[in-house]
């Protein structure tokens, strides 16, 4: 990978002549090399999902989490450098607890996102600090407005609210797949619900994963919905299994259908 940094990429506090800060872009590259993380804002909740490559056969499954709760009503999924991610999670927990202690209410999603974005951005300004090599997907519920939201914070310190977002290795094809889902219909009743969302995210992860090329992986999923009492919880394991089974079946059926089509065209 040839980069045209050439001297302007040695420090976060240096602009390049064409107005870029290379260190921040390199941080984004670090995220792009890591497992895919997906977030989906459904009609009745938010689902987070991370593909965790199993680097070592000796790893105990379900240890080394990528999805963390930062308060009862919010959770974060991280991808990229896991250790950098831990820093962001800890800061998010502090923000939530400080806000509640000062103002007596749960921190609104936008405020949490803005504060974490400012925090991440701070590390892109100093010559002596390096940017975070992590993207954080925040799922949060606001009990005052009764609204749920999904936000993503990138290493550059920008944060946006999304209907669906993806980060990591498979984010480009994931985004294409996510756009096909019913997530932003004008008639809100048509939008996908959490149960369907869990299945679709499982399907997308399995679709993107190439068995030959990529390492075996573990799927970590969490949701924040009516069913979970608007608390950030892990999706029940048997439901994940059900979703994965459905996903594999669906992928096979789609492949057969496509190969049938191809066969017909050969005539």
């Amino acid at each position: 990978m040839a980069s045209s940094g050439s001297g302007y990429d040695l420090s976060s506090s240096t602009f390049s002549p064409d107005g870029r800060i290379f260190q921040v872009e390199y941080a984004s590259k670090a995220v792009e090399n890591a497992g895919t993380a997906l977030g989906l804002k459904c009609s009745n909740g938010v689902v987070l999902c991370v593909e965790k490559p199993l680097l070592n056969k000796m790893l105990l499954t379900n240890s080394s989490r990528r999805i963390h709760s930062i308060d009862k009503h919010s959770g974060v999924a991280i991808t990229g450098f896991v250790s950098d991610g831990r820093q962001i999670v800890n800061r998010a927990r502090e923000e939530c607890s400080n806000y509640e202690e000062t103002y007596g209410t749960k921190i609104p999603t936008k405020v949490l996102g803005d504060r974490l974005a400012s925090y991440v951005h701070y590390f892109t300004l100093h010559g002596s600090l390096r940017p975070f090599g992590t993207a954080a997907l925040i799922a949060s519920y606001d009990p005052e407005t009764k609204d749920h939201a999904l936000q993503m914070i990138e290493p550059s310190g920008v944060s946006y609210q999304y209907y669906a977002c993806a980060a990591g290795k498979g984010r480009q094809p994931a985004r294409t797949e996510l756009e096909k889902l019913n997530i932003n219909k004008p008639d809100k009743a048509e939008n996908i619900n959490v149960r369907e969302g869990v299945k679709q995210l499982a399907r997308i992860i399995h679709l993107l994963h190439e068995d030959g090329k990529d390492k075996p992986f573990e799927l970590e999923m969490s949701w924040l919905c009516e069913e979970s009492g608007w608390e950030h919880k892990g999706v029940p394991r048997d439901f994940i299994k059900e979703a994965v089974d459905w996903a594999k079946k669906d992928i096979l059926e789609t492949e057969e259908y496509e190969s049938d089509e191809d066969e017909e065209m050969e005539d």
Partner: protein, 234 residues
């Protein structure tokens, strides 16, 4: 001191060593103003009625007989002040500042609960240095009309109606017997005015005029009743 020669003082004598000053006056620093007062707030269906007397005293001298003890913290959040005038003014200024900053950061109307929480934190963390009892009342889209009582020491309790100040002790019975749940705006206003008049009649540190603020979603309505038109009085 020679402890052998000291006579044990009779209990009655000990009780008078404060020279007849009220509990509030004793705790003030020399020359400090007290809003020894009567304040109350009652929520009704669509909002809250806050009321207060207007006497500010230093000892027996009435420093201000028409003071305004109902302060605005935000568009629809108000606060009744009692105790040291300086302390409560400083507290209201701080909370007003924090609330306006919060409104900008969150982009939404701050709730009465948040205002009460902020006030309570200040009162509790500085309880040694402050003498302030406040009642926060207002309207917000989440809880509609609500009232929080923050007495000396810094407790914060949400209440169906709240009384405060030195004069409140004389009217607890009256308000308990007259208060009903689900009253309308006019009924609540009458109750507030009546109760404060009764307190002003019996409490030396309360008097002057009655100031009321009615807070609803639509806005705030300030009123005052001059001292010669009180519902009950000398």
């Amino acid at each position: 001191m020679n402890y052998m020669n000291q006579q044990p003082q009779p209990y009655a004598q000990q009780a008078y060593q404060h020279d007849g000053k009220s509990a509030e006056t004793r705790n003030l620093k020399p020359g400090e103003l007290s809003t020894g007062t009567t304040i109350m707030a009652i929520p009704f269906k669509n909002g809250v009625v806050l009321g207060a007397d207007s006497r500010v005293s230093t000892g027996t001298y009435v420093a201000n007989r028409v003071s305004d003890k109902v302060a605005q913290l935000h568009d629809h959040i108000w606060c009744c002040r009692s105790g040291s005038a300086a302390d409560t003014q400083a507290l209201t200024d701080y909370v007003r500042h924090y609330l306006s900053q919060l409104a900008i950061e969150t982009g939404r109307v701050p709730t009465v609960k948040t205002a009460a929480h902020l006030m309570r934190r200040l009162c509790y963390e500085n309880k040694d240095k402050l003498m302030a009892g406040v009642i926060i009342g207002g309207w917000d889209p989440v809880e509609k009309g609500s009232v929080y009582n923050i007495p000396l020491g810094g407790t914060c309790i949400k209440m169906p109606f709240a009384l405060g100040g030195s004069g409140s002790t004389y009217i607890y019975g009256l308000v308990d017997s007259l208060y009903k749940e689900g009253m309308g705006e006019e009924e609540t206003k009458l109750l507030v005015k009546k109760a404060i008049s009764h307190a002003m009649a019996r409490d030396g540190s309360s008097g002057g005029i009655i100031r009321t603020v009615v807070v609803t979603e639509a806005g705030n309505e300030r009123e005052y009743i001059p001292g010669n038109e009180l519902p009950f009085g000398p």
